[in-house]
Point group: C2
Chain length 196, copies 2
């Protein structure tokens, strides 16, 4: 069912999550995706950099949809955000603390060395911030507070993944969930007629 | 004044900040530090991995001291934390958004591939959490709240660096400063006789 192009993107995503962008070679990608190097260049003429842009775009969109699905499923913004971080903690523990998100790793490695990849990561983060912003507005935040909370939320997700992986513990993701739930509950309390 | 060992550590720190652990070769380190490969192995018999552990340990200690110096200088915990994030934003902009901290990058790249490096990053993060915890207790937080805020603080610093670099904007660090100032001010208001 999966096309060769999809197989290459999926295999690259997994390799980046384990060993980062610079640590991953085209021959490893070829082996893991069962596609020849020639086939990789057929779909991605710009080689590893162009392939990485596609991985960042695909993953960015998948995670944006996942965030929106989780918070839509749970009643109330505070419980919604708690459920999101609890889900992230569970995924991390189940996967033996492999990075769930290659975007932050790639962003850190190449922010000063590849402008196309930096821009792809920036677009992915911007799409998450837009989703989180809409969620914060739905929870009763004013425009400035929604910007601030949404930006901080995306930063915290990225940072909590780093800390949780390094500590091999869900503590950072749990601390993030608890604090954002508190921040959203405080908005609710302060704004009569908000959506909670 | 700087010994050869110090020169090697400083050059490696700078290379990791620009291009990550996997993107940095021993010959680049040799060139940047004006030390031979033989000299690098003399000081670090385990090669790049052992050298990276030393970089993480040195940087972890420098940043811990920096955090404690900044918050000690400013009156009141809310303004102290705001000053910390504002300082980080200024450093990032001045350095043209080069990663100010190689530890998060190294941690993400090798959390699943090098146990000695993962443990070194974990010790660095733990020392920052301990400092931030003491600061939160000084601001009036109870033990559980201090644990949570300190863990979240370190996660947020790491994540806000990623986002600020990717966006080439201080917005994420400013959002973090504003939110932590608010969280600390809320503790102060709730706890009579706290240290603010």
């Amino acid at each position: 069912m999966a096309t060769t192009r999809d197989r290459i993107i999926t295999a690259t995503n997994e390799l980046f999550r384990r060993q980062g962008y610079n640590g991953t070679s085209l021959s490893q990608i070829s082996e893991a995706s069962e596609a020849t190097i020639g086939s990789i260049y057929h779909f991605f003429p710009g080689g590893k950099e162009e392939l990485a842009v596609a991985v960042v775009e695909t993953t960015g969109e998948v995670y944006r949809q996942l965030f929106e699905a989780i918070v839509a499923e749970v009643e109330g913004p505070a419980d919604g955000i708690r459920a999101f971080f609890a889900g992230a903690a569970a995924v991390l523990a189940e996967s033996d603390y492999i990075d769930p998100c290659p975007i932050g790793t790639v962003a850190r490695e190449v922010a000063n060395t590849s402008e196309p990849l930096r821009l792809a990561a920036e677009r992915a983060f911007a799409s998450w911030i837009a989703s989180a912003r809409e969620f914060a507005v739905g929870a009763g935040a004013g425009p400035h507070e929604a910007d601030r909370l949404a930006t901080l939320f995306v930063a915290t997700v990225e940072g909590a993944f780093v800390l949780s992986r390094t500590q091999r513990s869900p503590a950072a993701l749990e601390a993030a969930g608890e604090t954002f739930a508190h921040l959203l509950a405080t908005i609710d309390a302060a704004v009569p007629g908000s959506h909670s």
